[in-house]
């Protein structure tokens, strides 16, 4: 077996950040090669270079032993490289077959029956179960991903790049994906599998290349390594030591949600009769695959989305349909799901920290700028934010931005904390910090609602776990009863428990 792809001494800079620093990477014919690393390690950047989405500052690419300058995805496709990104590039109202041949039709007339026949044949050849006439909009996430893979294979891809393919899948769909990949490997396909999940990498790959901070740490045979060894290479230190200590002092309910319904942005029902209770001193985790109503739940509880029916009680005060300001006054601390939509990037750290409680910084109808500055200095110190009060928030890293939002909320010692996807996109250090803060709130006696797609995070922090599926709470269990398999079944909608 020869080398199909070789990347030599790749360097890619973004402003002052070196995303890839002298990276060497090789891919053999017929292997599944995992690219492992934390968020921001440079995995996706490297593969975007290979697929022609980015141009490397330095370095050379060889495909099948031949020097291959790749300047655009078109070049990459011509050399047999296909990529499936996390955000699918599919046209929802079109059929599977139309999506597969899109941009690759040849000829002027489009013969619907003929392309469906051709795509159907291709699907069978690659052993993938797909109805070529199905409309993409109606497919599940796992099926859409299969269409993306088929799309690449249909264009004679010899190398398939998968960027975090399992992030959007439920455990059962992951198994199906791995079966497909194994079959394709036997057919001679080479796969680059980007991931930050150790167990998946151990299961599926032949070799692993670990990236950290833009450097290659090592490339090893999967059979000759262990999760512990890989984890140490990834982070260089023990990580995710943050877990819930047993048994907290659970108290009276602080937040009660009864029969809550809400619509999504398209006006379709997104939350259906949600009932939840959070007590003092506990973390209630909401598990679920993304897009099952988590965003709408957080927004409705934050007061930025109006419920269509149902009630939200905070300390027995009805807050359904209340404004964000009223929620804050009632003692609800809110962190937004999209942190960029929670801060005003062009305003300073100090101004953002004051924005939620402006009335407290006004003296005789004038802003007390000194008080705003002192407030910022105090919070920057208390929450270890790496910034000056006068820095514009948009210049901060994701982790520091999240700290600004946490500081704004936690400084008020809220009795309820809403934390939707609080560590998404953060590096290890910032993730650990945020998780520690959530546990601190629990110890202080706050009720915490943790919404996360990261099951490890849910399992590590929650006292109780509720699973959301298609806008419904399909099950609720105590942390001791929960395990990955059981949660996975509930997340796929296959099993309902104790609704």
């Amino acid at each position: 077996m020869g080398l199909i792809v070789e990347m030599r001494d790749m360097i890619k800079r973004f402003e002052d950040v070196v995303a890839n620093d002298h990276v060497d990477f090789t891919l053999e014919e017929g292997e599944i090669h995992a690219l492992l690393g934390e968020n921001g390690a440079g995995k996706t950047t490297l593969m975007r270079i290979l697929y022609g989405l980015y141009r490397a500052d330095e370095g050379e690419i060889f495909v099948a032993g031949e020097r291959a300058p790749i300047h655009s995805p078109k070049d990459a496709i011509a050399r047999g490289i296909g990529m499936v990104t996390q955000h699918f590039a599919l046209v929802p109202p079109l059929s599977v077959a139309e999506n597969v041949v899109l941009g690759f039709t040849g000829g002027f007339r489009l013969q619907r029956a003929e392309i469906e026949e051709r795509v159907g044949q291709a699907a069978r050849r690659f052993g993938m179960e797909i109805d070529p006439a199905a409309i993409v909009r109606h497919l599940s996430v796992g099926e859409k991903q299969r269409v993306e893979i088929l799309k690449a294979l249909y264009r004679d891809a010899r190398v398939l790049i998968l960027d975090e393919p399992t992030a959007v899948l439920i455990p059962q769909e992951v198994d199906a994906l791995f079966e497909t990949l194994n079959r394709l490997r036997e057919g001679g396909l080479s796969v680059i599998f980007i991931s930050h999940k150790l167990d998946e990498v151990m299961t599926i790959s032949d070799r692993v290349t670990v990236l950290r901070d833009g450097h290659v740490i090592d490339t090893v045979q999967t059979a000759g390594t262990s999760t512990t060894e890989l984890a140490n290479m990834m982070v260089g230190r023990e990580t995710f030591g943050v877990t819930r200590q047993q048994e907290s002092q659970k108290g009276e309910p602080v937040l009660r949600i009864e029969g809550l319904c809400a619509d999504d942005d398209q006006g379709l029902p997104a939350l259906k009769q949600v009932n939840l209770t959070i007590r003092r001193g506990e973390i209630l985790g909401i598990a679920g695959v993304g897009g099952n109503g988590q965003k709408e739940l957080a927004e409705t509880l934050s007061g930025i989305r109006k419920p269509t029916s149902g009630a939200i009680f905070v300390h027995e005060e009805d807050l359904s349909g209340a404004t964000p300001a009223a929620c804050t006054r009632a003692g609800v601390g809110r962190i937004p799901e999209d942190r960029h939509a929670g801060v005003v990037g062009e305003l300073t750290v100090a101004e953002n920290l004051a924005l939620e409680h402006l009335h407290e910084f006004i003296q005789r109808s004038t802003l007390d700028r000194q008080a705003i500055h002192q407030n910022a200095e105090r919070l920057i110190e208390a929450f270890q934010i790496k910034a000056k009060p006068t820095d514009k928030v948009r210049t901060l890293s994701g982790g520091n931005m999240q700290k600004v939002l946490l500081a704004r909320v936690l400084a008020r010692e809220p009795s309820i904390l809403l934390a939707p996807q609080p560590t998404r996109g953060l590096d290890v250090g910032a993730t650990e910090y945020v998780r520690t803060q959530l546990l601190k709130q629990r110890e202080r006696g706050a009720g915490v609602l943790l919404i996360s797609e990261d099951l490890d995070e849910i399992l590590a922090l929650s006292d109780r776990i509720a699973v959301i599926y298609e806008g419904e709470i399909v099950g609720e269990l105590a942390a001791e009863e929960a395990d990955l398999e059981r949660l996975g079944l509930m997340m796929s909608g296959a099993v309902k428990e104790r609704v």
Binding site: C327, A341, L355, E356, T366, L367
Partner: protein
């Protein structure tokens, strides 16, 4: 396919260096000069000479220096008016119509309340102009806040409606009974704004304009409303999340914007023309948009941009008299200036460095 190795890398940066930001007005001026000099040569004028008249000749005499301030007065007010709305993300393109609404109030109250003491008369007239401007801005603002109707369209269209209203008034009930010209009767002496400098056209309106700059500066950077306004303008989702009442903030700034534009109308009627005429404004409301943009939506920047435009307006008349070029060259210069500056603002976010 061997491509030549690139020696430079072009990339985007979010933080332009300080020198770039300060050099931009100067570079924009040079760029404007280069772009307009062709037109000047075509009109048989020496571009250097023309720009001397544009930029320096107005300062050669006391009267023409003061004239820069006179021309700058409605421009400052319109610039501040537009900025007030833009700052909270409400794109008020209707300052022109709101200006005329204020002017109608001034022409009406200036005549109707004859006999009042001057101070009271002027105060009532200013208040009336503010309210008329606000009322003219109310419809689009409500449509925006309640039904999310695009304010750019509604405010812009209302400008034409207002011009026809003015025209109807001037050709109907308000036609001057003595001369028969389409102009309203002259306002009472007590309604005329006092002159600041004898034997010049500089009037109290200029002080008012500066006052509005200061008040707006204070409001914008020193009050809670100002911070909310900027937060709404810069990121509505974040402002909403932090509990800012978006609808209220947008509504208030849209109305105040209309009110200030109305004041500009009052000032032109009561300080310069003493009548309502349909050529009261040569597009001050639209120029206000350019000025707000060039001034970076900052009160001081707006004042400087407005006075600079006042300078070019004054200079354009001198150029046309001295060199025989059309007076419209002033407007062309202003428009070119805007385009060049906007181009520069995009360029300042691009950095070129050696690979």
């Amino acid at each position: 396919m061997a491509k030549r190795e690139r020696k430079f890398i072009v990339e985007k940066t979010q933080t332009p260096p300080v020198w770039a930001r300060t050099a931009i007005p100067l570079l924009a001026l040079i760029g404007t000069f280069i772009l307009t000099s062709g037109l000047l040569l075509w009109s048989n004028a020496n571009p250097f000479e023309a720009y001397y008249y544009f930029l320096f000749a107005p300062f050669s005499s006391r009267v023409s220096t003061l004239e820069v301030l006179v021309k700058g007065t409605p421009l400052i007010l319109c610039g501040i008016a537009v900025t007030f709305a833009f700052a909270s993300g409400y794109y008020n393109i209707g300052a022109e119509g709101q200006l005329y609404a204020g002017a109608i109030a001034a022409a009406w109250l200036g005549v109707a309340l004859e006999g009042l003491p001057a101070v009271l008369h002027i105060l009532i007239m200013l208040l009336g102009g503010f309210i008329f401007g606000m009322l003219w801005a109310l419809g689009p603002a409500l449509l925006k806040v309640k039904l999310a109707v695009d304010e750019v369209v509604t405010t812009l269209l209302l400008n034409s409606v207002m011009l026809y209203i003015v025209s109807a008034l001037l050709n109907g009930p308000w036609r001057d009974p003595e001369s028969g010209w389409p102009q309203s009767p002259e306002i009472a002496t007590s309604a005329m704004l006092p002159k600041l400098v004898p034997r010049s056209r500089l009037h109290f309106g200029f002080i008012l304009a500066i006052l509005f700059v200061l008040v707006f500066w204070y409001l914008r950077s020193r009050t809670g409303f100002g911070l909310k306004m900027r937060a709404v303008g810069l990121s509505q989702p974040a402002a909403r999340f932090a509990g800012v009442n978006i609808e209220r903030t947008v509504l208030i700034s849209a109305l105040v914007s209309g009110g200030i534009a109305g004041i500009a109308g009052v000032v032109e009627v009561a300080g310069i023309q003493f009548h309502l005429i349909d050529a009261l404004s040569p597009g001050y409301g639209y120029t206000g948009i350019i000025i707000a943009t060039l001034g970076g939506l900052h009160p001081v920047g707006v004042a400087i941009a407005a006075l600079f435009f006042g300078l070019i307006d004054t200079g354009a008349q001198t150029v046309s008299r001295a060199l025989g070029v059309p007076v419209y060259l002033g407007e062309i210069t202003q428009a070119t200036m805007l385009l060049v500056t906007l181009g520069m603002l995009l360029l300042q976010n691009i950095r070129i460095r050696r690979a």
